[in-house]
């Protein structure tokens, strides 16, 4: 028994057999294969680069004419040729941050439940259902927001908020049902599957020995789970940032429920707009060249924001994998 296992290990360490030499020259299939794959892989980078170049080209008149005013102005008046991105950047960041705030606690609880508390087979089934949520087209969420959530907010939630929390600027105004709050709730539901399923995977990937060690040291079940969650924390942060990326770029559902106005308002009950929604709204009929160019600049800035968020997430995921290997080795 011992001998066979050692043999197997030795076999594993043995050098790979040399590949059969292929015909040299252009028709070398290995080389062709490699060249074809390289070309396909490079084309992805070329497409991204071309997109950036094209957005820069489109945004050039706005960059030239509007300069830094574009970054700080709160005016968006296509008639007067005044364009400022502040209301849209605020709308994008506010709706996404609020969505995260609403989505994170229940999603995390769901992930812990699915990974730790429920029987594995049932956990997989439930996780499958939650992942289904992620594949629902965003326009369906938008329709739900307009026809189900908005009346509910208007008749029940918002009047209550105004009556009891109306002293806060956040909850002042008329209960119309559409606006920042509606958008944030719809976004929260849209991003929670991402948080739940990635967090669950990461929790499942933490070594069982961690949990066993905690239990062996006399921890309660809750304390053992806390140890696991602690080990998985970097990965969970990565999941949250991926979800944030989705929230930042979400267009259709937000456009349908946010109310679409370029006025800044502290109230969550008031309508707003996001960077993605203003592009979706105004792009097709932007006849004035400066207007079109300003929309290109919004797209460029949205691209920059998304790039930063995605890059950050990638770094975190790398960090998590490194961390997990360390944890695994220590265990």
């Amino acid at each position: 028994m011992n001998a066979t296992r050692a043999d197997a290990l030795d076999a594993g360490r043995a050098p790979l057999p040399r590949p059969r030499p292929a015909p040299a020259g252009v028709w070398n299939p290995d080389r062709l294969y490699r060249m074809a794959l390289s070309a396909l892989a490079v084309s992805v980078f070329v497409i991204v680069a071309l997109m950036v170049v094209e957005m820069f080209r489109g945004a050039a008149p706005a960059l030239r004419t509007l300069g830094a005013r574009f970054l700080v102005s709160t005016d968006w008046d296509p008639v007067a040729g005044k364009f400022g991105m502040v209301p849209y950047v605020y709308g994008t960041l506010m709706s996404s941050a609020l969505a995260l705030l609403l989505a994170l606690p229940p999603s995390l609880c769901a992930a812990i439940y699915l990974a730790e508390l429920v029987r594995p087979r049932l956990g997989s089934a439930l996780a499958f259902v939650i992942e289904l949520l992620a594949s629902i087209p965003s326009i369906v969420y938008g329709i739900w927001g307009v026809f189900v959530l908005a009346p509910w907010l208007r008749n029940a939630i918002e009047p209550w908020l105004i009556a009891h929390l109306g002293f806060l600027p956040l909850f002042q105004g008329f209960p119309f049902g559409l606006g920042m709050l509606n958008a944030a709730i719809v976004l929260a539901i849209m991003i929670s599957p991402t948080i739940v399923s990635i967090s669950r995977e990461i929790l499942l990937a933490t070594p069982g020995s961690l949990r066993e060690a905690a239990l062996a040291l006399g921890a309660t079940r809750a304390e053992a789970i806390a140890v696991t969650v602690g080990a998985a924390r970097p990965g969970i942060v990565g999941a949250v940032i991926l979800a944030l990326g989705r929230a930042l770029g979400e267009t259709m559902a937000v456009t349908m429920v946010i109310g679409n106005t370029n006025h800044l308002s502290a109230s969550l009950l008031a309508p707003g707009a996001t960077m993605a929604s203003v592009i979706a709204n105004e792009f097709t009929e932007a006849a004035d060249p400066l207007h079109l160019s300003a929309l290109f600049e919004i797209a460029l800035l949205l691209f920059v924001v998304t790039l930063i968020v995605n890059g950050f997430a990638r770094l975190l995921v790398l960090w998590t994998m490194g961390g997990r290997r360390d944890v695994a080795r220590a265990a």
Binding site: A80, F147, G179, L248, G249
Partner: protein
């Protein structure tokens, strides 16, 4: 990121660009979405009649104008006439052909209100300015004698997407209110002083039908097909007029003299007792001098057909047909078309 520059969108655009075969019997056009239902009907009927195929992409007026400028289409379509500045930016002279008219209806949602709601230009401006905020405002009560208006707050709903509809509506508000003209102006997208935006006719009517106290402007055809409660609007003659095909035709007819001088003249707030004041025309944009004589002739023949026989199809799709005076304007413009300097329709 789900922007329009998503690689998938680019791939679709590329596929569309490749899909248009370039034969003399095919015309391509691009632009406005508002007249798309009647245009696609026209192209369909015209193809059965003559075999000439017309590919039309309803990508929005702004994008249509861009394509005309770039010379990638045989004709463009726009709900807003080109300003003198925009015309100067074109490489060659572009002429406008009004094709059909349309009106906007102000749809409202007032539960337990028998109606019809009567609105004056001052009330409409006040609501969209954010100055009239409740339905029992005394200016609304004065225009609706004998009915008790509810004390509900008003939600002014506008189109969030840039659209010809918004252009007609803001042109109307600019025509009836100096303050609106000064502070907001007219365009396919404006900086709205108040209210919420819904995307598309369905977005606006969705918000209106969902929100008690809401009012919003939608295309007449859309309001009729969805049986929305619509307001009567006081016209220049002081009469409250229901939006309908007849009152829209009257609006186009009332502006015939000005349209003869310049087909781009807005027809909002027209004179006449039966005129519905919030109406507009939609245009085909064509280069006056065509590079390709065969294509130019095919295009001129189509427009000739559209402004005569094609008009019979307009009412079935809730568009207002052109009055004879405007058809004459189009005929005159048609006769001015040339191909490389030679008149296109000289042989007739």
């Amino acid at each position: 990121m789900k922007s329009i520059l998503h690689p998938r969108s680019l791939a679709i655009l590329a596929a569309l660009a490749l899909a248009a075969p370039a034969t003399a019997q095919t015309l391509t056009g691009a632009g406005a979405t508002f007249p798309y239902p009647i245009y696609s009907k026209w192209f369909d009927v015209y193809k059965q009649k003559t075999g000439i195929e017309i590919n039309y992409q309803s990508i929005g007026s702004g994008a249509g104008i861009q394509q005309v400028k770039a010379g990638t289409v045989d004709f463009g379509a726009s709900d807003a006439a080109l300003s003198n500045d925009r015309l100067k930016e074109m490489p060659r002279k572009v002429v406008h052909f009004p094709t059909v008219g349309g009106a906007l209806a102000l749809a409202y949602n007032l539960p337990n209100f028998a109606g019809p709601l009567k609105l004056t230009p001052q009330i409409i401006t006040g609501i969209y300015m954010g100055k009239i905020t409740t339905w029992n405002d005394k200016t609304i009560a004065a225009a609706n004698p004998g009915v008790t208006m509810p004390a509900a707050p008003i939600l002014a709903v506008h189109r969030s997407d840039g659209s010809g509809t918004t252009n007609i509506f803001t042109t109307y508000l600019s025509a009836v209110s100096g303050e609106w003209k000064e502070l907001v102006g007219a365009n396919t997208a404006v900086s709205w002083p108040s209210g919420v935006g819904g995307k598309g006719n369905d977005g606006v009517s969705g918000v209106v039908s969902q929100t008690p106290g809401a009012i919003g402007y939608v295309e007449l055809a859309y309001a009729k097909q969805n049986k929305l409660a619509v307001a009567q609007v006081q016209n220049k003659a002081g009469k409250f007029v229901e939006p309908s095909l007849e009152s829209t035709v009257a609006a186009v007819g009332a502006a015939a003299t000005e349209l003869a001088k310049d087909p781009r003249t807005p027809i909002v707030n027209g004179n006449g007792p039966d005129v519905y004041p919030i109406a507009g025309l939609t245009f085909l944009l064509v280069y006056q001098d065509q590079k390709d004589a065969a294509k130019g002739r095919a295009l001129a023949d189509f427009i000739q057909w559209a402004i005569h026989d094609g008009q019979e199809l307009a009412a079935s799709l809730d568009y207002a047909r052109l009055p004879d005076a405007v058809v004459k304007v189009d005929e005159a413009t048609l006769r001015s078309l040339t191909a490389n300097g030679k008149p296109l329709l000289a042989s007739r």
